[in-house]
Amino acid sequence: MSAGKTGKTGAAWIVSGIVGVVFLAPLLWTLLGSFREEAAIFQLDWRSLSNADTWTLSNYADAWRRAALGPALLVSAAQVAIIVAGGLFVNSLAAFAFARLRFRGSGALFAGVVILIILPVEVIAVPMFFTARDLGMTGGFGPALAGLTLPFMAKAFNVYFLRQHFLTVPVQLEEAAVIDGAGVWRQFWNVALPSIKPALATVVVIDVLTHWGDFLWPLLIATREETRTVQIGLANLFTQPPVQWGDILACAVMATLPVLLLFRWLQRYIVTTQVQAGIK
């Protein structure tokens, strides 16, 4: 009996292991390539792989220096953290209002917001830059940081997504709170918001991913080198001679690690087994 069960578990692990490796092959290749000498990156034969001379750590040192990753990681982290924090607050408030609100035209207003999901930064980059410039957001570090973050805090997609989740939170929870004498703010903060933790965590991950990878807007806003983000550093490696794939792969790995760690930390919030415990 137990042998059968172990066999089944073992088989499950083998299957999932194979699937995992195949699915992740591109990423594994990136990781592998980041440790190889330039001439050997594309060589996957055993002779080359077992040759110690083809392995090196220098790609990491070079990429760190050439892409100025130290300050860049801080800037990216600061940018993303502010967008996420501000965004969580601003978007969840609006989503809550849309979920519970009934007034004439609220449907149309919401539809208007949803339409805005369509627009990527590239499409309105120039007029948006003008607005940022008019508000004084280009220039020094502080203003540039505002320019990197304020335009993206409110997001149509986040409002839409969070509203969907607020709608699934039964009104009874809040009614219970109202009976206890809670005002609107208390209902939001203490009742509704905690009920959608997985959605909030998902939104955090999506926002981080979106803005970690943003390369056009940070370039337009940044007029000082202190406001370089990680992607600008990576872009440097594409065009600054000598172009070395090893450096680029190493930079890619280093640029991904922080987000990976964040995801690892947030993962337990995203997939919960019982979203609506405590109702019945």
Binding site: A78, A85, V126, L219, R224, A235, T239, Q240, P242, Q244
Partner: protein, 434 residues
């Protein structure tokens, strides 16, 4: 709430970190005049040299309290950055830009003319190609500190192995001789030539292969009417580029190379490349390195042109900007350090004396070309569109597209853009500034 707090202020060091980040941005106001200067981020050694040049400028002009604040931006979207700054009327006082783009910026009056800032003797000291690159409609708008050269490097030993006779010093091959040599190399099992078709920048293609068009007697755009119709896809160009296409269809050059430098790694016998590889090739090949001009169809031809310096027409600090221009294109203050750092060709004739390597190959060839048959890329305001469409056409042609049809498509697309344009009045004329 706990979640958010933990995110931002895990403990005091976190708070200090935030404060530190903000403090680094605090500006300490300086007395005196500081101008903003932007530059593209080239090789690391070039960056270092630029920073030293800026520091030296600030030192040398301490008395007048003039200073430059130098900022680098990645090559990758540098022009986008400049364009948006121009749109927002926020261009820096001085900046460098790629030669072929001068026309576009000058067209709308964004650049200050430079003739009055240099004496005739000084201007004569610059290479003719440098002056040509920056001269639009009779006025000088930009001057570079260095120029570029495009040549065909070769490995003597690999050619000898295949029984190919290298040309005598200073001479070159005709296109037929070139193809014959490739044939022999291929027969000997040696990859003949690397053309860097994996370059991500469109500009490489126009820069590297316009000489093929020019050598065949054609042009990219008519220099008098600034039209491409009938020119870009003309017979001569079709003939020239069909010859070029043969390099790929006959397997002499890779359409999708993986390495950025196969010649240096010993994988190809010839390298269609420029001055920027001279140092590393010399280091890799030593005495085996040979260099010759690009193969000739009807007449010799070579590319030139590089980054050059311009001053914003809206700058309020003309004196400082002029001083900077002189400094960064000065023989010992600008050209010297930059060329030592990046190995490019000095823009000033007087500077050649500082570089003994220019008395022998490969450098001697660089200079010779620039003084004779090298030609800047078309100085047309629609250059950006022209190069993008031409590069796209070249990529497709290299992979077997029909030359005439593909060129015609590119020609139509560019001509459509040209036809759409209104004649631009200079921004400054409209503003009544001069």
């Amino acid at each position: 709430m706990g979640l958010l707090l933990n995110l931002f202020f895990p403990r005091a060091p976190g708070l200090c970190l935030w404060i530190a980040i903000f403090c680094t941005g605090v500006n300490f106001a300086q007395a005196g005049t500081t101008i903003r200067v932007w530059s593209h981020q080239g090789q690391e050694s070039e960056n270092r040299a630029m920073r030293e040049i800026a520091t030296a400028f600030n030192e040398a002009h301490r008395e007048q309290a003039w200073a430059v604040e130098l900022t680098f931006f990645p090559d990758f979207q540098y022009t986008e950055k400049l364009a948006v700054a121009a749109a927002a009327r926020d261009l820096p006082d001085a900046f460098d830009l790629d030669g072929p783009l001068v026309a576009r910026f000058a067209e709308v009056g964004l650049l200050k003319t430079l003739e009055d800032d240099f004496t005739a003797a000084e201007l004569d000291d610059f290479l003719p190609t440098i002056r040509a690159q920056g001269t639009i409609g009779g006025h000088l708008y930009a001057l570079g500190s260095f120029d570029s050269a495009l040549v065909l490097y070769y490995d003597r030993e690999m050619l000898a192995r295949a029984g190919v006779q290298a040309p005598e010093a200073g001479g070159g091959w005709t296109w037929d001789e070139f193809l014959a040599a490739c044939e022999k190399l291929k027969a000997a099992g040696i990859e003949p030539v690397g053309l860097h078709m994996n370059e991500s920048a469109d500009e490489w293609f126009t820069y590297a292969f316009s000489p093929v068009v020019w050598s065949g007697g054609g042009q990219l755009i008519d220099a008098d009417s600034w039209r491409v119709a009938g020119v870009l896809a003309g017979e001569k160009n079709v003939r020239s580029l069909t010859q070029w296409q043969a390099l790929f269809s006959r397997g002499f050059a890779a359409t999708d190379p993986v390495e950025p430098d196969p010649f240096g790694l010993g994988k190809v016998a010839m390298d269609w490349s420029g001055h920027w590889m001279a140092r590393s090739h010399l280091a890799a090949k030593g005495g085996k390195l040979g260099v010759m001009p690009l193969p000739i169809l009807e007449k010799p031809s070579a590319a030139c042109g590089s980054w050059c310096w311009a001053v914003s027409a809206r700058t309020t600090q003309r004196d400082v900007a002029r001083a900077w221009l002189h400094w960064v294109t000065g023989r010992s203050t600008g050209v010297g350090p930059l060329v030592r750092a990046n190995g490019a060709v000095p823009a000033r004739r007087s500077a050649f004396a500082d570089f003994p390597e220019y008395s022998h190959p490969p450098y001697a060839l660089f200079r010779a070309q620039l003084e004779t048959f090298a030609r800047p890329r078309p100085r047309t305001p629609v250059y950006a569109t022209l190069t993008q469409r031409f590069a796209a056409a070249l990529r497709d042609i290299s992979r077997g597209a029909d030359v005439a049809a593909r060129l015609k498509k590119a020609e139509d697309e560019v001509q459509r853009v040209i036809d759409r344009r209104r004649p631009r009045t200079s921004v400054l004329e409209a503003e009544g500034a001069r």
